[in-house]
């Protein structure tokens, strides 16, 4: 187990904007940290740099306190799980699990023992003599996971490992990953573009945008106290409502209010905005109501059994103390 620390990490490609701009990040021993952001934000680049699949233009990477710049992936003692599973098609499951050990010159008896142990941990013992193409997506990802586990590396790297799976399987494997992390207590660095996945899995989330770190913190903090408008809009579905601050008489800049922090009222009230219902979306447990006000559209959460229809006149009011304020540059303002 080990800490991972990135110090002023920069990666540039000739003729393109920097993929990574001076990213500094400390990942604690045994932590589950997610790197999140839209595609092209530099999250996969960061993962490749930690793995040693790519070298930074400048900056230092330390694993367990030791500088690993210039070391090959195998010398860094990290394992990686890929989005496409990247299993070796010509080897059966046993061969796939054994491969990293064979490369590490582990004795045959030890390989056998570790493969059996890993297969038991993941419940794939009965698949050991199958080829990857004979496995379902979920089984393949379990084998890929096993191939990472079998080496007992100090750091696990995940590159969108669940993106290729369907929704039901994804949430099942999400649970397994979380349990696995609790069992192993190893350092997990997890890349995803799925904010919900990051929220449910992580101890901490690092949000990247265009190669720059926007905010690092526990999921709750990221959600409730986003550092800027970008982070606020990236997390949460439906998206946070952003309105001009003037609408509430709060001066310049903009305000953000989470849809579940907006009250729907049948009549005028102090601090409420008047509007017309544009859209009602029932999700089963609740209804998301889009209200057209004079300044912007606002999404509010209503009860599932709410008797409301497009065209109705309603009032929306943010819950007390739940307004986030952003200045003209989009940065969050305290207070």
């Amino acid at each position: 187990m080990a800490t991972v620390s990135l110090e002023r990490l920069r990666k540039s490609h000739p003729g393109a904007p920097d993929a990574l701009r001076e990213v500094t990040l400390e990942i604690a021993d045994g932590e589950f940290l997610s790197l999140v952001g839209p595609s092209g934000c530099g999250k996969s680049t960061t993962l490749n740099l930690i793995a040693g699949l790519d070298e930074p233009t400048s900056g230092t990477i330390r694993i367990g306190g030791r500088e690993v710049n210039g070391l090959s992936p195998s010398e860094r003692d990290v394992a990686m799980v890929f989005q496409s599973y990247a299993l070796y098609p010509h080897k059966d499951v046993r061969g796939n699990l054994a491969f990293p050990l064979q490369m590490g010159r582990v004795s045959r008896a030890e390989i056998e023992r570790r493969v059996a142990e890993t297969a038991a941990l993941l419940g794939i013992e009965q698949l050991l003599s199958r080829r990857p193409r004979e496995l379902s997506g979920g089984q393949r990802q379990r084998v890929a996971l096993g191939r990472a586990l079998v080496r007992k590396p100090r750091v696990f790297l995940f590159d969108e490992p669940l993106s290729n799976l369907d929704a039901a399987l994804r949430s099942q494997l999400r649970g397994e990953l979380k349990r696995l992390h609790a069992t192993l207590r190893a350092t997990f660095v997890y890349v995803t573009h799925d904010q919900a996945e990051a929220m449910t899995l992580s101890d901490r989330i690092a949000v990247l945008r265009e190669g720059s770190l926007q905010q690092v913190g526990p999921p709750r903090e990221i959600y409730e106290r986003p550092a800027n408008r970008f982070v606020a809009e990236f997390f949460g579905t439906p998206r946070i409502n952003v309105l001009p601050a003037r609408a509430f008489g709060l001066g310049d800049g903009e305000v953000g209010i989470r849809p579940e922090k907006v009250e729907l009222l049948a009549g005028p009230a102090q601090g409420a905005l008047e509007g017309t219902v544009e859209l009602c979306e029932l999700t089963g447990a609740e209804t998301w109501v889009t209200v057209r006000t004079s300044s912007a559209s606002v999404v509010a959460r209503g009860a599932a059994e709410l008797a409301i229809a497009p065209g109705d006149r309603v009032w929306v009011r943010p819950l007390q103390g739940r307004i986030l304020r952003f200045d003209a540059s989009g940065a969050a303002q305290n207070g």
């Binding site: 793995a51 990686m80 890929f82 990247a86 490369m103 080496r151």
Partner: protein
């Protein structure tokens, strides 16, 4: 009916000459002027000397040597071009293509001088080298497109699992590439098996002649031994035909590798 006629026409066009050659090889010498033979004989085959057996052996050595050289150089180069961060890889591929555009006849004299300087003139190794340079571009392009088809994540996985780039090539990519290797091997083999110009120019000792040279030199000043030429051609064609039949699916899938997404 119309389709059957069309098929027949195509078959006749491609197989006709081969059939005629096979027929000629069993046609008695004395009846060659007749429109069709009255009897068949294996005399032409019996008349082939030990020197022709030697030529078959020489051809086998040269073709196998060229194939081995081409594949070992071509596969590792193609892997590096397709999967590694190699500066100038486009230049390399383009250069290989440009080289293959040279008409062989234009290179005969410089090659002759080069081989003489290397003391490789009139040796089988002296044929393998120029053959390989001519067959390598095709191998390189074929294998590069094949390796590009294999996902990059496979390479990254191998690296993280502790492979050096060379080990990733040997343990992961080579075992996966045998369809493309088989295709390249057959094409290179056929090319070297059939080559006449260089073999005729660079070899002078009769014992080192390859099949095409041997057949070309069957004709004497006063005789054209058609029966023997035909018999020798059949013997030369047979292994290729069998090889190709055996691997034909592989060849087709190898040639179209990279053409369409699966």
């Amino acid at each position: 009916m119309k389709r059957a006629l069309g098929t027949l026409a195509v078959l006749a066009f491609f197989l006709g000459p081969l059939a005629w050659q096979a027929l000629t090889s069993v046609w008695p010498e004395a009846e060659l002027t007749r429109p069709l033979p009255r009897s068949f004989t294996l005399a032409s085959y019996a008349g082939l000397h030990g020197t022709f057996a030697r030529a078959v052996l020489n051809s086998l050595v040269v073709a196998a040597g060229t194939t081995a050289l081409c594949l070992s150089v071509g596969a590792s180069a193609a892997f590096a071009i397709a999967k590694l961060d190699l500066p100038g890889k486009r230049l390399l591929l383009g250069g290989a293509l440009a080289i293959s555009m040279f008409p062989p006849i234009a290179t005969v004299s410089p090659l002759y001088l080069a081989l003489r300087a290397l003391h490789l003139r009139d040796t089988l190794a002296g044929l393998v080298l120029p053959y390989a340079t001519f067959a390598l571009p095709l191998t390189l392009w074929l294998l590069t497109s094949f390796f590009r088809e294999l996902p990059d994540e496979l390479y990254r996985a191998a690296r993280v699992d502790g492979c050096t780039p060379w080990q990733a090539f040997v343990h992961v990519f080579l075992p996966l590439s045998w369809p493309a290797l088989a295709t390249s091997a057959i094409l290179v083999f056929i090319f070297s098996w059939n080559e006449l110009l260089y073999a005729l120019t660079f070899l002078s000792t009769p014992e080192r002649r390859t099949i095409p040279v041997a057949i070309a030199l069957f004709a004497g000043e006063h005789v054209e031994p058609w029966g023997q030429i035909a018999a020798a051609s059949v013997i030369a064609t047979l292994p290729l035909a069998l090889l190709t039949l055996f691997f034909q699916r592989r060849i087709v899938s190898g040639l179209t590798a990279g053409a369409v997404k699966e």
